[in-house]
């Protein structure tokens, strides 16, 4: 009889893209987290200039990206750093929804107007109209992604001391 060693790991399943976040508040059973800088080198967030609070700074932008997890699975406390993950293909789907749809409608509207009227002003107006239409479609698409749970981050584990998004 031909036997195989089966494991519970499904290698065909999409993996998780990991990132590090810090617990900033507890809220009933849920927790609020702020993601750490995930720039190309990560050193930007460490510099005193970039970490300064204010409009447009990295710290300010990260605070704007605060998110909530509905459960506190490991009884985390404020200040703890954790590894979180989103589905691997979620980033691609989100990018296509947020950027590709408005861009395609913008270009299509602009190209059609140019072909039909041949005037720069009409083309500009049509492109802006196409962009607004695309944003409306993107909103519907984003709602669908959210309803499917594709955009929700998941708790994975506590981060090791000194672990960064670039750590192996």
């Amino acid at each position: 009889m031909n036997t195989h060693d089966f494991t519970t790991t499904d290698y065909a399943a999409p993996g998780l893209t990991e990132g590090i976040a810090q617990v900033v508040a507890l809220d009933g059973r849920g927790i609020w987290l702020v993601p750490e800088q995930t720039g190309s080198c990560g050193s930007c967030a460490a510099s005193s200039m970039c970490s300064a609070k204010g409009i447009g700074t990295v710290a300010n932008r990260l605070e704007a990206r605060r998110f909530r997890l509905d459960e506190n699975p490991a009884e985390l406390i404020v200040g703890e750093r954790v590894v979180i993950g989103v589905r691997e293909n979620a980033l691609v789907r989100a990018s296509l929804t947020a950027y590709a749809i408005p861009l395609v409608t913008l270009l299509l509207a602009g190209a059609l107007a140019q072909w039909r009227y041949g005037s720069d002003l009409v083309t500009m107006a049509a492109a802006v109209g196409g962009l607004l239409f695309g944003l409306a479609v993107a909103r519907i698409g984003a709602d669908k992604l959210l309803a499917r749970g594709d955009l929700l981050p998941q708790y994975i584990r506590r981060a090791r001391p000194g672990e960064t998004c670039n750590s192996k």
């Binding site: 190309s40 704007a64 990206r65 998110f67 989100a94 861009l103 602009g110 944003l135 984003a142």
Partner: protein, 194 residues
């Protein structure tokens, strides 16, 4: 139609922003460790480059050129790019806060991406009409995204390879980038003048 097609092929492949003009190298080396992050950055950059180039064309045609303010071009374009990034950020946040949480981190990186300014300055040199300049910017950004994704794929494979310790990390990345640039030089034989 053929003229626009050739313009786009030229902008995306023959004079690729990264491998032909050597712009946007910071994000090219920094955000290409995974394919999905490269796609995210590429899409965000494509959106910002296209929108900011449209606005820059309007500013150049209706403000800088008629009033002979060419010396303000670079400063004005930088301002427009920063505004376009801010607009994109606000729009994504308004359209879908979860999308903003996922994608917002790429936008600050684009503000300081020289490819965005480079494309805007190339448009001025090209003296194109509105639709041609928009398509040129879009194609340039697509070329940028294409190279980002190809390079991310190469780096994902290199991460599994047995690379000598001295070459591990950025050194082997630069060698791969140079080989990729050589491959793209093959497109330079294509005529895009019609």
């Amino acid at each position: 139609m053929k003229e626009y097609f050739l313009l786009m092929v030229g902008a995306a492949l023959v004079n690729n922003v990264i491998l032909g003009r050597f712009l946007g190298l910071c994000s090219f080396m920094g955000v290409t460790t995974r394919i999905d992050t490269a796609v995210g950055m590429g899409m965000a950059a494509t959106f910002v480059i296209t929108v900011s180039s449209m606005v820059n064309w309007v500013v150049q045609t209706f403000l800088l050129q008629p009033y002979d303010l060419a010396y303000l071009r670079t400063v004005t374009f930088i301002l427009v790019i920063a505004a376009a990034v801010q607009f994109t950020e606000m729009t994504v946040k308004k359209v879908s806060p979860p999308l903003f949480q996922m994608l917002g981190i790429y936008l600050p990186l684009i503000t300081t991406n020289c490819a965005v300014l480079g494309v805007a300055l190339l448009l001025v040199a090209g003296e194109m009409n509105f639709i041609a300049s928009t398509l040129f910017a879009f194609a340039s950004a697509l070329g940028y995204s294409l190279v980002m994704v190809i390079f991310a794929g190469l780096r994902e494979r290199m991460a599994l390879a047995n690379v000598p310790r001295l070459f591990d990390g950025p050194p082997i990345g630069f060698i791969a980038a140079s080989l990729l640039a050589l491959a793209f030089m093959g497109f330079s034989g294509m005529s895009t003048t019609g």
